[in-house]
């Protein structure tokens, strides 16, 4: 495990999700309008909606099933709903490769 190149930035349409799968892990990756890429578990804490299919508004995604709103920075569900999903660190390198950090210690901190 560790760093994984998941693709090139050009494969990520702005403000839409892409699904990344590795073993049993399924993540939703989003390119925000500021060009950064965010990764969270692809499973809504409510009834397991596929977050990759949600509408993205700045750094939030709305679950397609029942409209829960989740912060892509930290995976925290926004009030009035509650809960969180794991969020992972993603970086885009100089060549535009999208790198996902999967090492335990490097998971984006859910504050």
């Amino acid at each position: 495990m560790g760093k994984v190149i998941v693709g090139h930035i050009s494969e990520f349409p702005e403000r839409s999700g892409r699904v990344f799968r590795m073993g049993s892990l399924e993540l939703a990756l989003f390119k925000l309008s500021d060009g950064t890429v965010k990764a969270i578990e692809n499973r809504c804490p409510h009834k397991h909606g596929k977050l990759s299919e949600g509408i993205v508004c700045d750094h939030h995604v709305y679950c397609p099933l029942h409209d829960w709103k989740i912060d892509l920075h930290d995976g925290i569900v926004q009030a009035p709903d509650q809960g969180c999903v794991n969020a992972y660190r993603v970086e885009v390198d100089g060549d535009g490769e999208v790198i996902l950090f999967l090492e335990d210690g490097l998971e984006a901190k859910v504050s």
């Binding site: 994984v4 998941v6 699904v19 990344f20 299919e53 509408i55 508004c57 709305y62 509650q82």
Partner: protein, 811 residues
């Protein structure tokens, strides 16, 4: 040098006092507030609404963090005041901070009273007092089923209602024989009980709790009479006691509450108390209206302004449970020397009781119809003598026709109110505050007033009165229609947004949000799809459809199902297919191992349970156009056999249906649109519960509109009768385009036609030239549509979005 004011408690009464103080004397004090809860000031009353799902936590914040900063107030949130040194004039907090004060205010509220039952310390036993309790209930409801609420008073019933909305089973345990005995008499209470039982509440009356059962977590409750009730959650709502511990240990005089005089001063110099923690003339109040009055007096005191002091309050209550109107005020129980006037109507479930003493109204109870509440409450407070005309209080002057309403009109009431009388008890807003907001700040609707003064933002009970004051001040013509934005991102209505799009030629959602000052830079899941639709409707050629603003179904061109799989529905015009097409569909279903094949309600074949990755492949293999079963768009045109085979048929319903479907397929509409065509008035295609239905008659066609077979079934209205097939297409095009141009996004034709009125629709379509113009516009739009399945199959980049990313092997 500014004087230092320290307030302990960041609750409703305390912060209201600070607001008043800031108004009277903005620069007199350097203010610090110590608040044990980790939140800014919020509306505790509204916790019931949060629990019932009518408001979100965000909605109930009264003053956000900015407010404290902007007013130079230091808020020590999440810290508790633990000691007060009256000699040194300092307060110490749980985080070890020491604050000096010149004036100290206790606003520590109260603590919920927890019955000292054995087992009361188990997990799952809580009170209903703050955000934390509310969150616990919401969280618990996700995992458990059965709740018991102890206490059949105001708070207990509101908690119970909320828990029902959270899908829990709820039993309310009450020690008395009837509910809300402090606010209601037995008659009103029984009516209330019946209504709440209808809403799904169960009652265990005259029950004394004995012990709470369970190991770690509660599993039930046992009563003194030997019976038991299962419970996964127990909410105790049996009362409150003033939170006075800190005051007492600081040497401040405490009886039941912190003892204060008419100016909210305690026995210790420079120490004051307001709110539920204070005891004034032997009374401790547990409702906000009196607490705001106390705050106003204290604010004047500390600002050095004149005030007559606080003289106690008359209480009134309202239960915040939807569908139930209950009001009670003053001394409503009959006593020696009182007389009461009663109206009881079991048929309509209305009960009214007004209690008089020496000709004055001293109390009232209303159930079912609470429209007289403001009037009665004002009559109680004014102390007016009604000797000889008691009946007028409820029935109006003799000869005015009687009836439930009447009496002094609301307009008279408004005129009679003094300026400093509180209109909105929840937020302490006076008549003068409202008048000021209307005349000086230009508020012209209840919504404006709510935004500006918070009036009616609490329990909503004062809304009629706020409206009346608005009307009295502005005159009825000036009162703007209450205005609600299309979503939380804007206050603009649909029409204003569409107008702006047209006038300023806005062509992207981003532009709209920017120009119209959206609160959130990229909108939300409600406005983005709506704006995308409005833009496409207004400028079909210029607007580039924004995939990222579309709901998942329309982005993936298939229906998302609850497990994240999709369903694929090929277009089958008019419901007519061929053996070849059926075979093709069968082959594809087998190849992709489609777990379920079924016919839809609109006579189409539904292939359910398809993985997202498989969608493009299936579309390619099917090689049929998309059936649009996923879109806010024309779905299906259902047809009967018509005269092709049917012995009753008078016209060719199949051809009519196929023609309609071919003409209008792929059209974006505000919501889904379903059509049907029947070959004779027997109406086998059920055309009269469709958005548009066509029924053949001898020598012509009837066109029905705005029907619905969905959640709210509605029979369609007859729009017109025509002779030729061409006319059917012309009317349909005009009707659909008029709907596209005037409906709110996500408004079905049935709701839309009720809102704008069938007559208005008929008028808009009456003239041939108007219909032609509408058709010209719809034709333009239709010309530009493309089949999405085909588009995706043909474009690598579009198709790649359906593929899953995987990690390169070995990394």
């Amino acid at each position: 040098m500014k004087k230092k004011l320290v307030m302990i408690g960041n609750g409703m009464a305390g912060v209201s006092f600070v607001e008043q103080l800031l108004k009277l004397n903005p620069s007199g004090y350097e203010i610090s507030i110590i608040g044990a809860e980790p939140h800014p000031n919020y509306n505790r009353i509204m916790l019931s609404s949060v629990l019932a799902g009518d408001a979100s936590m965000n909605d109930i914040i009264l003053n956000d963090w900015h407010w404290y900063r902007d007013n130079g107030i230091r808020l020590l949130a999440g810290q508790e005041a633990v000691a007060v040194d009256t000699a040194q004039r300092s307060v110490t907090t749980s985080a070890g901070e020491r604050l000096q004060y010149d004036d100290l205010v206790f606003a520590t509220g109260s603590l919920p009273f927890m019955l000292p039952l054995p087992g009361a310390d188990k997990a799952g036993v809580i009170a209903f007092r703050d955000i934390k309790d509310c969150e616990t209930m919401i969280e618990t409801a996700k995992r458990y089923r059965k709740a018991v609420v102890i206490g059949g008073g105001l708070l207990g019933l509101e908690a119970a209602r909320g828990l029902i909305n959270l899908n829990m089973e709820v039993s309310v345990v009450h020690i008395h024989g009837y509910l809300m005995e402090k606010q209601l008499d037995e008659t009103a209470s029984r009516m209330l009980q019946a209504e709440l039982e209808r809403q799904g509440m169960k009652f265990l009356l005259a029950k004394q709790s004995d012990a709470i059962l369970g190991e770690e977590r509660v599993t039930g409750i046992a009563f003194k009479d030997g019976t038991r009730e299962d419970a996964d959650l127990i909410v105790m709502a049996v009362g409150i006691r003033p939170n006075v511990l800190l005051a007492k240990s600081s040497g401040v005089e405490v009886n039941r509450g912190i003892v204060v005089n008419d100016f909210m001063q305690t026995n210790v110099a420079n120490i004051h108390a307001v709110g539920e923690c204070a005891e004034h003339r032997g009374m401790v109040y547990g409702l906000v209206a009196p607490l705001y009055e106390q705050g106003a007096v204290l604010a004047k005191r500390l600002a050095g302004a004149e005030s007559g002091g606080y003289h106690g309050s008359v209480l009134s209550t309202k239960l915040k449970v939807s569908g139930v109107n209950v009001f009670s005020a003053g001394r409503f129980a009959e006593q020696p020397g009182t007389k009461s006037l009663r109206v009881q109507d079991d048929l309509d479930g209305v009960y009214k009781k007004v209690v008089f003493e020496n000709g004055k109204v001293v109390g009232a109870v209303l159930f079912g119809d609470t429209s007289d509440s403001s009037k009665l409450f004002s009559a109680i407070r004014s102390g007016k003598d009604y000797t000889g005309s008691e009946r007028e209080v409820l029935f109006g002057p003799a000869g005015s026709g009687g009836g439930g309403k009447g009496g002094a009109s609301t307009a008279d009431l408004v005129t009679a109110m003094s300026g400093d009388e509180i209109v909105c008890g929840c937020n302490g807003v006076t008549k003068d505050d409202l008048a000021h907001a209307i005349t000086e700040k230009g508020c012209a609707s209840v919504a404006d007033l709510k935004a500006c003064t918070k009036a009616s933002g609490g329990c909503g009970g004062c809304k009629p009165l706020v409206e009346a004051i608005l009307t009295a001040t502005l005159g009825a013509d000036q009162v703007a229609q209450a205005k609600e934005g299309i979503c939380g991102c804007t206050t603009l209505s649909r029409d204003e947004v569409v107008d702006a799009i047209r006038k300023m030629r806005l062509t992207t959602t981003k532009e709209v949000m920017h120009v119209l000052d959206w609160h959130h830079p990229e909108g939300c899941s409600k406005c983005r799809p709506a704006l995308n639709y409005y833009l496409g409707m207004a400028f079909p050629e210029e607007h580039e459809d924004e995939q990222e603003s579309r709901f998942v179904n329309e982005r993936n061109h298939a229906n998302i199902q609850k497990d994240g799989t999709y369903s694929v529905v090929p277009r089958i015009y008019g419901g007519v297919t061929t053996p070849e097409d059926l075979m093709k569909i069968a082959t594809v279903a087998e190849k992709y191992r489609v777990p379920l094949v079924k016919f839809t309600g609109g006579q189409r074949i539904d292939l359910l349970g398809v993985k997202k990755e498989d969608l493009p492949g299936m579309w390619k293999d099917l090689d049929m156009p998309s059936g649009y079963a996923y879109g806010k768009s024309l779905r299906t045109v259902k047809t009967c056999v018509g005269n092709t085979f049917c012995r009753f048929g008078t016209q060719d319903a199949i051809k009519m249906g196929v023609d309609l479907e071919k003409k209008f397929e792929r059209l974006n509409t505000p919501h889904k649109v379903k059509l049907a065509v029947s070959g004779c008035p027997r109406n086998c295609a059920e055309a009269t519960i469709k958005d548009l239905g066509v029924v053949a008659i001898d020598g012509g066609w009837e066109i029905y509109v705005a029907g619905n077979g969905g959640t709210r079934v509605r029979a369609a209205d007859l729009l017109t009768k025509v002779k030729t097939e061409e006319e059917v297409l012309g009317w349909t095009g005009a009707y659909l385009q008029y709907y596209r141009e005037t409906a709110n996004y996500l408004e079905r034709t049935s709701e839309w036609s009720l809102r704008v009125g069938l007559d208005a629709i008929k008028r808009a379509l009456e003239k041939q030239e108007d219909r032609d113009a509408l058709n010209a516009r719809i034709d333009k739009t239709l010309e530009l549509t493309k089949d999405p399945w085909k588009e995706i199959i043909e474009s690598d980049s579009l198709r790649s979005a359906f593929e899953t990313l995987t990690s390169p092997a070995g990394s």
